[in-house]
């Protein structure tokens, strides 16, 4: 009898386990639940936040003078709290005219005082993102003279460096450009901290949502702002549920307890595509993956050797096998969806050509070199692939794996030979890439690889100050072609951002196109 009972239980369990789970969403219609790893959040103060997830949340809580919009697939700065702006004839002064009648979530009106205050607090708080403000030529010593109130609804910001408008406005679309309610922030100020402590987990903005709560490592809750000036948000509540494991995110979404899985591993994303309740959304990402060569080291000093290495790599296999197709083939430094994007991809594996170039450079039998990367699975796989490709032309690459921070530390000291790394983009303008990748004077990637090329640096700088956008695009095109031939970089791909979103949720692609640079929470509905 006991045995029979036991057998029945086992059979029942098996039947239950084998049956597919067809789950309806259990989240209310006016609420969106996003399963994400919120462990990386540090602060939700716009002057401090610098991580992608934090910036995405802050985007819902605050509005800025200008923010990115999408025009024909390209990210373009558009009016937000400023209804329009004027640029002086020499390009050195931007005058912003604020929308009238706009209120913060607190009910206070948005005025020029709040704009001046917001820039000042960022300059004085000096968080890691402050270098972006410095890019505009503004720091704590001069912020009061560079960001000036003209009247209650007019603000002038100086652009002494004469940056091109797309760069200047692009930098303002970063989280630090969020306009903070001065009265509320000062009410909670402690020891002259500009309200930083309080704003870590409270909001004082004019965005479509307000921060209802942030329980660390548990959840972040945003509620619709009843005073929002623009298109009213259709979802009343947005909850970021802390779920660090990709497997659990997947279970929650498939079960209908969450609407979106935010950080799925590639394998889970591919597997989830068969589920009819789920949309697999893929959008261009804001980061590049590359191989870089130190131009001060041995054979890599010779541009022919560098070109040979670029021809030895099989880019398609990296994208299709290692990235499982979740990457875009972009070999220039300007990503898809950016002003000035150059659609040429001149490199594909050509072993004969690579060998010939090595022979011309005096290395017919190749050489031995150190290939540095960090311990993420993707990078390790890429390193092994490159090692195999280089072996085909006689170059023996010894892989060295380090923790990312240790690797970057070595990289910053120009201590590598060949490195595989990535670059996350700070603002959606080619300048945010041309400077690091081509201008050694910016002390970034070109400098780290000792590519002291004055011609490339000159082009990158000239483009930054070119006010005519047609001419500007021409310069970037010229620079990209020069960089292909001479630069020390082999660009593997542009990353792709992807999410598993339940069918009930609409508008995700609109809301997240340009993700990490731009998110429009009001586009989402169920």
């Amino acid at each position: 009898m006991k045995k029979l009972l036991f057998l029945m239980v086992v059979v029942l369990l098996l039947v239950a386990l084998v049956n597919p789970v067809m789950a309806k969403s259990r989240v209310p219609k006016d609420t969106l639940v996003i399963a994400a790893n919120t462990g990386i959040l540090i602060s939700l103060d716009p002057a401090v936040v610098y991580e992608v997830l934090g910036a995405v949340i802050v985007n819902g809580l605050y509005d800025k003078l200008v923010d990115y919009g999408v025009e024909n697939g390209t990210l373009v700065p558009q009016p937000e709290l400023a209804e329009k702006w004027e640029i002086s004839s020499d390009g050195k002064v931007f005058t912003f005219y604020l929308r009238k009648g706009v209120k913060f979530a607190s009910g206070n009106p948005v005025t020029a005082d709040d704009v001046v205050f917001s820039f000042k607090r960022h300059a004085f708080i000096e968080s890691p993102s402050v270098w972006l403000l410095h890019e505009l030529g503004i720091d704590k010593t001069n912020v009061e003279e560079k960001v000036k109130k003209i009247d209650d609804y007019t603000v002038q910001i100086s652009n002494d460096k004469g940056l091109a408008p797309n760069i200047f406005l692009g930098i303002l679309t970063n989280s630090f450009g969020s306009i903070v309610d001065k009265k509320v922030a000062l009410q909670h100020e402690k020891n002259g901290d500009f309200g930083k402590d309080w704003l870590t987990d409270h909001s004082a903005g004019a965005g479509p949502y307000v921060l209802a709560s942030w329980e660390r490592n548990s959840r972040v809750v945003m509620r619709a702002n009843p005073n929002y000036w623009g298109e009213k948000p259709k979802l009343k509540t947005i909850i970021f549920l802390d779920v660090p494991e990709s497997t659990n995110q997947r279970l929650l979404v498939e079960k209908g307890d969450a609407d979106v899985a935010w950080n799925l591993e590639a394998q889970h994303f591919i597997e989830i595509q068969g589920n009819p309740d789920i949309q697999a959304v893929m959008l261009p990402g804001q980061a590049n993956e590359y191989l870089a060569m130190n131009c001060s080291w041995g054979p890599l000093k010779d541009p022919k050797v560098r070109l040979a290495i670029k021809y030895a790599i099989d880019y398609d296999e990296i994208i299709n096998d290692i990235m499982q197709g979740l990457a875009l083939k972009v070999q220039g430094f300007i990503p898809k969806g950016y002003f000035g994007y150059v659609p040429d991809n001149p490199f594909s594996q050509n072993i004969e050509k690579a060998k010939q170039l090595l022979t011309e450079a005096g290395y017919p039998d190749g050489f031995e070199v150190e290939l540095l990367t960090n311990d993420s699975d993707t990078r390790k796989n890429e390193a092994v692939k490159v090692q195999a490709d280089l072996a085909k032309v006689g170059i023996k690459a010894n892989i060295v794996i380090m923790k990312a921070s240790q690797m970057y530390s070595k990289y910053r000291k120009q201590g590598h030979q060949i490195i595989i790394a990535g670059w996350g983009i700070d603002y959606a303008d080619p300048d945010a890439l041309a400077k690091p990748f081509a201008d050694y004077k910016a002390h970034q990637l070109a400098w780290r690889n000792v590519w002291y090329d004055d011609y490339a640096a000159e082009l990158a700088e000239k483009a930054a100050f070119e006010l005519d956008s047609k001419k500007r695009a021409e310069i970037y095109k010229e620079l990209t072609h020069y960089w292909f031939e001479n630069g020390p970089f082999a660009m593997f791909y542009q990353t792709v951002s992807y999410w598993a979103v339940r069918k009930e949720v609409k508008g995700w692609e609109d809301a997240f196109y340009g993700y990490s640079m731009r998110v429009d929470w009001t586009k989402l509905y169920k």
Binding site: P128, T200, R216, P244, E245, T247, L251, L252, D257, G424
Partner: protein, 356 residues
């Protein structure tokens, strides 16, 4: 360590009346030893954190930061000072219960610990309850039914407990009981739409009793079952094995045979005569288990999205947040030592032979 113990013993013996102090003497001795152990942990943690070739500032600022900004931040955080100076500063801070400021959260580490520890404590207590009750029951059952089906089952169950990785068991249980069967809730401490009780102790079960919020209590309890089981499983295994061995030993004793011979009920003999004596070694292992549960929480908390100290330390590791790693580790060492101290005192209280 034995030498240190001897020195401390001698010092206490030399104190006036030291020889007669008995239990108190023992407690003082153990307390002093605990301080020594904690100092050792502190030194090891500090050296490991500061000597390994990694760059916390680089991790904090990310790969894009220019070298000047990295140097600026190093200076701001005092990381450009000599190592010896930093060590002295750290010790001075620890004595004032100041464990530094977390690089990641920007809060004092002590405040972060206060915030995150209750979730871990609640999980560890529940896991201990599960592993103790299940372990003793399994151990007794398998000793009494030696070499029968129950014994084999208990042994296989125990071996699986010590050999299966926590994250694997966790994911498997979630897949079965949450996703497929829907008997238990998913990850987290409460369902998304359950309103949490007001924080008094930080332990959800206790707080919901205080508030009289039975919905939260019931939901919190359901959420605790899987992670507590997964966390306690390893402990269950060792408790069951120790109980089994010691129970077998007791069952062979003359007094058990006598009890059986005088015709006492079998259950009564096992419960009252054998088990009670067999539990003495088990008490020791419970203290150790509780300590290891705090450590083990690191993985369980990640799998079950549990907002505890383990997750805090893991997140600290990912960005090389040394103050958080050092503070969190030191705190766990402290709790571990206190748990063991309590067990030792209990033990000495129960068994006077231990006080020597």
């Amino acid at each position: 360590m034995d030498e240190a113990l001897q020195i401390i013993t001698n010092i206490i013996h030399d104190l006036p009346g030291g020889k007669e102090m008995g239990l108190l003497n023992f407690i003082i001795k153990r307390l002093l030893l605990m301080i020594l152990v904690l100092f050792g942990v502190l030194c090891i943690v500090f050296v490991i954190a500061n000597v390994i070739p990694a760059d916390p500032i680089g991790a904090l600022l990310g790969g894009n930061a220019p070298p000047e900004v990295v140097d600026q931040y190093k200076h701001k955080l005092g990381l450009d000072k000599p190592l010896a100076q930093r060590f002295v500063d750290y010790i001075a801070g620890v004595l004032r219960w100041d464990l530094g400021v977390s690089l990641r959260t920007n809060n004092p580490v002590t405040e972060d610990i206060r915030k995150f520890f209750p979730a871990t404590l609640e999980l560890a207590i529940m896991a201990t309850l599960i592993s103790v009750s299940l372990g003793i029951w399994l151990g007794t059952a398998s000793a009494v039914n030696r070499n029968k089906g129950v014994d084999h089952f208990a042994r296989i169950f125990s071996i699986l407990g010590v050999s299966m990785p926590v994250f694997w068991t966790g994911l498997l249980l979630l897949l079965i009981f949450y996703y497929k069967l829907g008997w238990l809730p998913g990850p987290g401490r409460l369902d998304i739409f359950i309103f949490p009780p007001k924080t008094v102790t930080g332990l959800i079960l206790i707080d919901s009793i205080i508030e009289g919020n039975w919905t939260a209590f019931w939901n919190g309890l359901q959420h605790l079952i899987m992670p507590a089981f997964v966390l306690g499983y390893g402990g269950t295994a060792s408790i069951a094995r120790i109980t089994r061995a010691s129970m077998l030993d007791c069952l062979r004793q003359d007094y058990v045979r006598t009890a059986k011979a005088k015709g006492l009920n079998k259950r009564l003999v096992i419960k009252r005569h054998a088990l009670r004596n067999a539990l003495i070694p088990t008490v020791t292992i419970i203290g150790l288990t509780f300590g290891s549960l705090l450590e083990g929480a690191v993985l369980t908390e990640t799998v079950f999205s549990w907002p505890g100290l383990g997750r805090y330390i893991t997140n600290g590791y990912l960005v090389l947040d040394y103050p958080a790693i050092m503070g969190g580790t030191l705190y766990i060492a402290l709790i571990y030592s206190i748990a063991n101290l309590i067990v030792d005192i209990l033990y000495a209280f129960l068994d006077p032979r231990m006080r020597v």
